[in-house]
Symmetry: C2
Subunit: 232 residues, 2 copies
């Protein structure tokens, strides 16, 4: 979210160094997760972010635009990661491992449990149609990778892809129940679990994990992100 | 929820045949899932249930008691099933299959997606401590069954048990995204997935599934439920 210059904040420039737009998103994320979407006012968001309400409306058309941006931030990086992994020559199981581990890190990271927003009734609104579309696209990426692992194809792979995604998104309930959750360790366990679901033989898991971890490291390095952003 | 007699409803006796308490729970379940907990008034619940607000307060001390009863209804039957399965002489993988399939049916059944309530911020309140305790107890049952499947023990089994529970609870997000979901088919797929997670050899899956399905059928028959309710 790029911050437009020239608008004063309530308390001067962003003290977080993230910019006003990001400060508003961070404040809203915590409030939505702690008290709910309907119970959070734009006034409360602006106050927590340390900006004037007018400044909030300068960055976002309304509260729904903030929720929309937060929802999209939980799927866009995963789709970008899936795209980078699609370009890799590594075997499909290693790429699946990397996608799962990267997704768990994304959903498990950050101060607020943004994945919990998926279950909020307000997200049914058609204002969030693009989020639902991207989430379906991510599901398709999982199904595609699962099919390439050789576990059947078509509806069979789609169903197994869904199971893998359920395993990954299980981090949402986990972090809600266990505040001190070790997300990094969980990411590896879940990615290992995905390999079991696609029927990878036990003796191939260690090699696949090592290849997947290297792949994820390369795909999420600053250089990889820069390369992606300069593509047309 | 036993309905106390002698109190008039707004519209006469329950037309659903379930009793006033159950009518109130059913109405609240739909409203909580459709518009959220905070945004639902006891007035709206009473109106939808076709009872007077006074009658609602005769059955429940307040809105939180209704949410509490709904939350408990998503875990108590699972724990009862786990208890019945613990008494069975069938091998652990078949019992795990039955518990998973039974849990998916429970969470996937009924008109409202009650599992979505788990993610509501309001559920953090200590009023719902007994729900959280029962959910932890269920997690322990999964870990125990996984350990009996021979996949390590202690923290190893606990972690795998968590993965299995994530797979099961994945039905919550699935039914939210796919209104026409075939829960029965999904229950079998998820239970099969659990067997993969505990490392059951592929050639043992079909036999285990058949044994698990028979076990689940016997454990959820009316006779089994009656036997359980007459225990001290």
């Amino acid at each position: 979210m790029a911050s437009r210059p020239g608008r004063p904040r309530a308390g001067g420039p962003s003290t977080s160094g993230r910019g006003t737009g990001e400060d508003i998103l961070a404040a809203a994320a915590v409030l939505f997760c702690e008290v709910g979407y309907s119970s959070t006012s734009t006034y409360a968001v602006a106050e927590r972010a340390g900006v004037r309400q007018a400044s909030l409306y300068h960055h976002f058309a309304g509260k729904h635009e903030i929720l929309r941006a937060l929802l999209l931030s939980t799927v866009r990086p995963s789709l970008e990661l899936a795209e980078r992994l699609a370009a890799s020559a590594e075997p499909a199981p290693a790429r699946l491992w990397a996608l799962c581990a990267g997704d768990v890190r994304l959903l498990g990271g950050g101060p607020a449990n943004l994945g919990a927003l998926y279950l909020f009734p307000e997200v049914d609104d058609e204002k969030f149609a693009d989020f639902h579309e991207l989430h379906r696209a991510l599901r398709d990426r999982y199904a595609d990778l699962v099919a390439r692992c050789g576990t059947g194809s078509g509806s069979e792979a789609a169903e197994t892809g869904q199971l893998v995604l359920s395993l990954v998104e299980g981090v949402i309930l986990r972090r809600r129940e266990e505040p001190g959750l070790d997300v990094e360790a969980l990411a590896e366990r879940i990615a290992d679990g995905a390999l079991a679901l696609v029927g990878l033989p036990q003796d191939a898991v260690a090699t696949t994990r090592a290849a997947g971890a290297a792949l994820l490291c390369a795909a999420t390095s600053p250089a990889a992100a820069e390369g992606a952003s300069t593509q047309p």
